[in-house]
Subunit: 219 residues, 2 copies
Amino acid sequence: MAEVTSIPDRLFEDLKTAIFEGRLSVGSKLSEPELARDYEVSRGALREAIGRLEACRLVTRKTNVGARVVSLSHEKLIEIFHVREALEGMAARLAAEAITEEEIRELERLLDKHANDIEDNHDYFQKEGDVDFHYTIVKASHNGFLFDLLCNDLYQLVRLYRYQFGMRSKRAVRAYHEHCNIVDAIKRRDAEMAEHMMRAHIRASRENVERQMAESTAA
Amino acid sequence: MAEVTSIPDRLFEDLKTAIFEGRLSVGSKLSEPELARDYEVSRGALREAIGRLEACRLVTRKTNVGARVVSLSHEKLIEIFHVREALEGMAARLAAEAITEEEIRELERLLDKHANDIEDNHDYFQKEGDVDFHYTIVKASHNGFLFDLLCNDLYQLVRLYRYQFGMRSKRAVRAYHEHCNIVDAIKRRDAEMAEHMMRAHIRASRENVERQMAESTAA
DNA sequence: TTAAATAATATTGTCGACAATCTGGGGTAT
DNA sequence: ATACCCCAGATTGTCGACAATATTATTTAA
């Protein structure tokens, strides 16, 4: 039952963290000879790892030209929010129908943590507790396909975007209350309300970003 | 502006059609030496093509063991329908807001074709006209990310499933009316109603499949 | 001086060969 | 007879080298 891991597996993870930590900055080129030297692997293994990065949309590739770390335009970001609204709304709906008692306790634990972070004036979003919350609900939907789509693709793009734009939301308190509403509906097994609340939550987050974008554009 | 195409590009397409046409049957193993001989390419190029098939979920891969064409369990199929309901509902909503006059004409053209196929007693689904209809709406949402997700990943799985289970729906007439309702809402720019109708349409399709599954299980 | 053409360089695409790992069959011991 | 172990064959993983293409620098002509 041991996890078999190949060189491209390891490279894939290493390159992802390199991207998130900014060592491979947004928009920069992934030079195959250079990276092969740095990570001490052959170009073949490297190319497969880059292929996987492309599959989850963290890099874009052009034939005979090379791969670059994606740079999220504001436009693309809004597109992603619309997809998130649809998918996570469905996740909340399914979670209300399929969640287990233990998963409910996990959600409550995360809510407590969120409340404490606000109390202590920590930056909730910076610590990625927000991702944990959404991750848990998607998992509780017990829909493997939905989970794969959101957690292996979308959330990583969201994460990259937070680093890229240095997102620091003043929405921590309001987001907390929205989270409470969502968990409440799920606990009551009210699928319709759970989806509605989740969509409202993500819509609010999108509108917040749109406001920030409008400000930074109007110089 | 010429389309540059590499060997893995071509292989990717060839293998996809081979899967859809059943020459690579569901659940069968993709032998690298064998396929490399048949298609007269090196194993390296082949491996990249297989990697892309894995990315759009048409094959699954295990380290040191190999790749197999996915076999869609009934469970997985239902999961996909839930994701489709969420994503296409959003697509219809966005399309109602962003569709152009020309795209509206295209939708009406497809509706006419659908009506004629029913008249002439053709099998609408078999000819993939249904895919064209949904494809056009997703495109009209003018959300590139959504388009990519649905048309490059999900629709191919749906297509594979139709071949695998030999889907021949008796829903052609009812589906036609549902399609009309959707187009109607979009033309009136009623986003809320467009989403509602699209979700109802896909939900009905899912429930139809669930019924068929229940029948075939109860031997 | 600028712009186009061209040559030099570097990068990506492709391939065949070797190493590591899995699969299946045969043999042995209980 | 069955279960376990071990070995042979085949398959996948990995690598370095060569070919094709793009990029950059240089030269030349207007």
